[in-house]
């Protein structure tokens, strides 16, 4: 292992860890106004949307393959299937669609 590389990796680790750590050990939201705290609790949904789109459209050879697979996941999730089943089915559908078309 080259020492430069090792130090670079250590520094990469630090600059990744610090933003993940700071809010959890230093943030005190107790006296924040209700709207600010409300906004923080809404972050997950906005993040999920941003994580799904537009990335999912780049999976597979064709946009419609991702739509079919993602759609399957959405339907299963809607009817309360466990996470693992939803993920497995999405993989299966994409695999089949890629092979057939």
């Amino acid at each position: 292992m080259s020492m430069t590389m090792v130090w670079m990796i250590v520094a990469m680790g630090l600059v990744t860890y610090i933003p993940r750590l700071l809010p959890l050990v230093m943030l005190n939201t107790e006296n924040w106004p209700a709207w600010a705290r409300r906004m923080l609790t809404r972050v997950p949904y906005a993040v999920l949307g941003a994580l799904i789109l537009p990335g999912i459209l780049t999976v597979g050879d064709n946009v419609w393959f991702a739509v079919a697979s993602g759609g399957t996941a959405a339907v299963l999730a809607y009817f309360g299937a466990p996470l693992i089943v939803v993920v497995g089915a999405a993989i299966g559908v994409l695999g089949v669609v890629q092979m057939v078309f």
């Binding site: 990469m12 600059v15 993040v47 996941a73 693992i84 299966g92």
Partner: protein, 276 residues
């Protein structure tokens, strides 16, 4: 949710629980590990590919695995490989890593709102594992989030990430291409699986927020890198929703006021349960 162990006081708080009752902690840890399993599966192809490309870029297996162990951030690690490949300096790589991962600031702050207080050490441990996916799984759970639950989710994800980086370095192509390609959908399927039940529970708020998040990310991605685009898209969506709610009241002003009260009620319950 809560198990009462011997010597329960009127408030249900025992010294053992305040210090962290091991049996309860183990239960939450196991639940977290189970819920982390879909992430572990989703990380598999991503980590294998990372190991493979790391080898092709000229990293030793030790360097590749060390990076997965210490950094634990997919997008940043991929980016570093492409930068190393074109001969970028270490400082540039570190700076780019910082910028790409700055978005986790927002995620940790959001988790902070829902998680039980826990000890500083516990928070320091799960903060390390706060990837997009771990955040997504933990944050869509009912409050209060247990420290050991988040640690469990993170541990399952981490094990897969580090393990398959090493595996990928050596056996890269051991999965057929079709399977590798199909598994690329896994993480997106996971995000969908987390989002959809929230729609059932919380209604159109989730749809609007997620829709705005996706839309803003798609637009911002035209100008900026993924890390910034996700962060700005999130801020814009959350702030935009708040403004819309206040200006339009989504029809009725009274309703949003009611929502405020509900929210505070929820807060109070949360506070109570995390005191227990």
């Amino acid at each position: 949710m809560k198990t009462f162990s011997g010597g329960v006081t009127a408030l249900g708080v025992t010294a053992a629980e305040r210090a962290g009752d091991p049996a309860t902690q183990t239960k939450h840890l196991k639940k977290g590990l189970t819920d982390g399993l879909p992430i572990a599966i989703g990380y598999m192809p991503v980590a294998i590919t990372f190991g493979l490309i790391a080898g092709a870029t000229g990293l030793s297996v030790g360097e590749a695995v060390l990076m997965s162990m210490l950094v634990f951030a997919g997008a940043a690690q991929y980016m570093s490989l492409s930068m190393i490949a074109v001969g970028a300096g270490a400082v540039e790589v570190v700076l780019a890593t910082f910028i790409v991962n700055l978005r986790h600031l927002l995620m940790s702050a959001s988790i902070h709102e829902k998680a039980e207080t826990g000890t500083k050490a516990q928070r320091a441990v799960y903060a390390f594992g706060m990837t997009d996916e771990v955040f997504a799984v933990a944050s869509t759970k009912q409050a209060p989030l247990r420290s050991f639950y988040i640690i469990g989710v993170a541990a399952a994800a981490y094990g897969s990430w580090v393990g398959f980086t090493g595996a990928g370095y050596y056996m890269g192509a051991f999965l057929p291409v079709v399977v590798q390609e199909s598994m690329a959908i896994a993480l997106y399927a996971l995000f969908i699986a987390l989002l959809v039940p929230s729609i059932r529970k919380e209604g159109r708020m989730v749809v609007i927020l997620a829709g705005m998040g996706g839309l803003f990310h798609s637009v911002l991605a035209l100008w900026m890198s993924t890390g910034w685009a996700i962060m700005f898209a999130t801020v814009l969506a959350v702030a935009g929703y708040e403004v819309m709610e206040r200006l339009l009241g989504f029809g009725k002003g009274e309703e949003s006021e009611l929502a405020d009260i509900d929210y505070e009620e929820e807060e109070r319950k949360e506070a109570e349960s995390s005191c227990r």
